[in-house]
Symmetry: C2
Subunit: 147 residues, 2 copies
DNA sequence: TTGAAAATGATAATCGTTTTCATTTAGCGT
DNA sequence: ACGCTAAATGAAAACGATTATCATTTTCAA
């Protein structure tokens, strides 16, 4: 991991190591607060902004992505390469994971073990529309120049 | 509409009528600010909180639902009964609508006119998980007692 | 018409996110 | 090993969207 980060122009620090490790231990649907709490159990000197920044960093290097269920709290989810979605239970507030095949099935057959109506779907796809697909380059926020 | 609201225990006011009408004229992916701006063009005495409250009300009575694309701004979307999702263009920031058949096709074939990889999918489904599906009643925030 | 409940509008509080900045630290070149 | 420079840290403040408060006004049923 240290090498991985170095090739992208980032340093390794004790805090960073702890934060990264804690994030991957938590694994899924991690909010800044959750991660902060976990990190503080091991080192109660780590600042909130450090946790927040490193969570963003984890995303920036492609190891996690944002999950937004619409409750105002940004969560971060390990990237698995297996496309998946979430069922957000309106009662127990759990996030349940589905892989893409399950989702296709549910969408196609409009039925599943879970209780939702078609109106409950919130599907957000990020990418490039037909007009923009040729010129993706402009979106890059920060360019880390390396080989 | 006035009757519709009355049966649910809400009154009709000039502001409310203007706000509702403006929302449905805007139609899709409406933020509070956008609606506020449109409303103020016709009546510059309407307060921001009134617009906000009425937008929530539109949701509460089931005429709209929240759309969250993760940019920190809550948008509201007319309920159409036709389940749909959105492609959020990372470049031009447009929200493009898809119906469920299109989504199924895209998910199943992992290809479309739009440029995204499977990792770009953010699918959020709200409903009830297996444990909670029997007892949906508890979720209701406000109960308007009517026939 | 009138009284009770609801709605309004201005403002302030809240809360999650992001920035700032002075200080510390990592790690490359020597 | 040492010093230097860029990066990282932590505390605190700034920010921005959302939500609550409250005195006043308005709706509408009796």
């Amino acid at each position: 991991m240290k090498e991985f980060l170095r090739t992208k122009g980032f340093k390794m620090t004790p805090q960073r190591e702890l934060i990264f490790r804690s994030f991957f231990e938590l694994g899924r649907h991690v909010s800044v607060d959750e991660l902060y709490d976990k990190v503080r159990l091991q080192d109660n000197t780590v600042g909130y902004s450090t946790v927040w920044r490193n969570l963003k960093l984890i995303c920036r290097v492609g190891l996690a992505e944002v999950v937004n269920i619409g409750d105002g709290i940004t969560r971060y989810d390990r990237v698995t390469n297996i496309p998946h979605g979430h069922l957000y239970c309106l009662k127990c507030k759990e996030l349940i994971e589905f892989n893409v095949e399950q989702i296709v099935g549910m969408l196609a057959h409009k039925t599943s073990d879970y209780n939702f109506t078609p109106e409950n779907f919130k599907i957000e796809i990020q990418g490039y529309c037909e007009n923009c697909r040729e010129s993706e380059v402009e979106v890059v926020e920060e360019t880390k120049s390396d080989a």
